[in-house]
């Protein structure tokens, strides 16, 4: 199931943010989108997810044109989404948050057993209100919620934001392991160099709403090249 974004232009209230964005993510890949604050990374993920309707361009997943489809249709087409700042449902329990994630993928298949294997704290705290958990635990819950419906593609928006470094390392390792075990394709947005280098097989650099570089293979380990797009 390949994700293909072609000539994507999107923005808010007539203000253009994304300009002619082209990118491709092949089945099973882990691809990062790197860039400074405010360059359009989150807008790009939202447009791919159907939370922001593009002005022009196309978003295709598995050959299906999802450009004008709503976000819930994207989710049912097997795209999982981990929003920036987690956005767990704070008044719902951990278990209820995971129940919501079952809607992703559009079939009855769920991965509770595997999700609890990766994040055992969630099973221990199944009855706790999500809003009372720490930032790191909420990030785990947001990832688990997106995974429980067994998506083919996972979109992750800044998994390191507001999470303490030790937990960031653990989440990075978990995402890599999830990709390996489930074959889940991952497209993530990030500014944290250690997460990018620990996770991405390939990166797109974005600046002023445009893809300005594609960083592949060993070049991902080139700290200076990545910092060119991250440091203000």
């Amino acid at each position: 199931m390949t994700l293909e974004v072609n000539g994507l232009n999107a923005g808010y209230d007539g203000t253009p943010i994304l300009r002619d964005v082209d990118l491709t993510v092949e089945t099973g890949e882990i691809v990062g989108i790197v860039g400074r604050n405010g360059v359009g990374k989150t807008t790009l993920l939202k447009s791919i997810m159907g939370l922001l309707e593009p002005e022009t361009g196309t978003v295709r997943f598995g050959g299906e044109d999802l450009t004008r489809e709503s976000a819930d249709a994207h989710a049912r087409s097997s795209i999982g989404y981990v929003p920036q700042g987690r956005d767990v449902f704070p008044g719902l329990t951990v278990e209820e948050n995971l129940t919501i994630g079952e809607g992703i993928g559009g079939d009855d298949e769920t991965r509770y057993e595997q999700v609890y294997e990766y994040f055992p704290i969630l099973e221990e705290r199944a009855d706790q209100d999500a809003g009372t958990m720490s930032g790191g635990q909420q990030q785990m819950l947001a990832i688990a919620r997106a995974l429980v419906g067994d998506p083919d593609l996972l979109l992750v928006d800044e998994p390191s934001e507001g999470v303490q470094p030790s937990i960031v390392q653990s989440i990075t390792a978990d995402l890599a392991q999830i990709n390996e075990s489930f074959g889940t394709t991952i497209l993530f947005v990030e500014q944290n160099l250690s997460v990018i280098q620990g996770l991405a097989e390939r990166c797109y650099a974005i600046d002023h709403g445009q893809i300005v570089d594609e960083i592949d293979g060993e070049a991902v380990d080139d700290r200076e090249r990545l910092e060119e797009y991250l440091v203000v």
Binding site: L51, F89, G91, E96, I100, I104
Partner: protein, 307 residues
């Protein structure tokens, strides 16, 4: 619905029992009048000022079916169906444009209320024949109370709250509805068709309004196009006093308001009871601007922060 034949100020076991029945009567009325409005406000951020007219459609549907020859329970079903269908049409044509626009939604639904009450007046005249209250009265000492209004309706009110609690906490629909209320964008990204959730929630609120109308059709006495206000005032007060939490808010506000309303009504008459209810609402809003459940939520958050 309490008929005293002696001065209520003489405190006796009978007086206390009569006061208790008065409380149950008031509690049942406030809960049933409020619950539909509370669901629509709590879940969708819309204050439906046509709520009284939704209830009235339940009353008219029941009365018209009953007078056409249907047994009362079947007439009540007709009332609920009529209010639910009306609610779905209103949601799709009017209310959907006003989600999370509190003031706009109030103006739009107030206009709707005027239209509905005038239409009922034009189509059915100034009143419909009343329906006699079933189940009769129970007498104790110098008092008597309506079994239907003071026992059956409060019992149904408690069952409705329990049913709603189960619906919103124990079913996938309820969990999805709460997720949609908390964060519609994220809910959509999790595959929830939020548009459909809004229709369903509004339909449930309308059905509950219809149920209230159906249940009170035999207890109202005269059935006139302006009876909607009877329900709306108490429902509005209870929603504001209860706060955003639908079930706990309705339960807490109905309990508190009923104590004052019943005591005032029992001791000094219905007018004083109503005045007392409004006074309590004003004081409660001054002290608890986010309602009872808002205060409880704040208190819990402060406690967690201290820990």
């Amino acid at each position: 619905m309490i008929t005293p034949t002696a001065t209520p100020l003489s405190i006796s076991g009978y007086s206390l029992l009569a006061l208790f029945f008065q409380f149950l009567d008031s509690f049942g009325f406030i809960v049933l009048a409020t619950v539909g409005l509370a669901i629509i406000f709590g879940m969708m951020g819309v204050i439906n000022l046509a709520h009284g007219e939704f209830i009235l459609i339940g009353v008219y549907g029941t009365a018209l079916a009953y007078h056409a020859g249907a047994p009362l329970p079947l007439g009540m079903v007709a009332g609920v169906i009529a209010a639910t269908a009306f609610g779905v049409v209103v949601e799709r044509t009017i209310v959907r444009h006003f989600y999370d626009r509190l003031l706009d939604s109030m103006v739009a639904t107030w206009g709707l209320a005027l239209v509905v009450s005038q239409l009922l007046l034009i189509v059915f005249g100034s009143s419909l024949d009343s329906i006699s209250t079933p189940l009769g009265n129970v007498s104790y000492g110098p008092y008597s109370s309506s079994v239907y209004s003071s026992v059956l309706l409060p019992a149904i009110a408690v069952c409705v709250l329990a049913g709603l609690y189960a619906l919103f906490t124990r079913t996938t629909f309820g969990i999805k509805a709460r997720a949609t209320i908390e964060d519609p964008e994220t809910a959509r990204a999790m595959g929830i068709d939020t548009d459909r959730m809004y229709v369903a929630t509004f339909a449930i609120g309308s059905a509950l309004a219809g149920l209230t109308g159906a249940l009170y059709a035999p207890a109202l006495g005269s059935i006139t196009p302006n009876r909607g206000n009877t329900f709306l005032v108490e429902a509005f007060v209870a929603v504001v006093v209860g706060g955003q939490s639908v079930i706990l808010g309705t339960l807490a506000a109905s309990g508190v308001l009923s104590v004052f309303n019943a005591t005032g009504s029992f001791l000094f008459g219905t007018f004083v009871g109503q005045m007392l209810l409004l006074l309590v609402a004003i004081v409660a809003l001054r002290v608890l601007p986010d309602g009872i459940t808002g205060y409880v939520d704040d208190w819990q958050q402060r406690r967690r922060a201290e820990e």
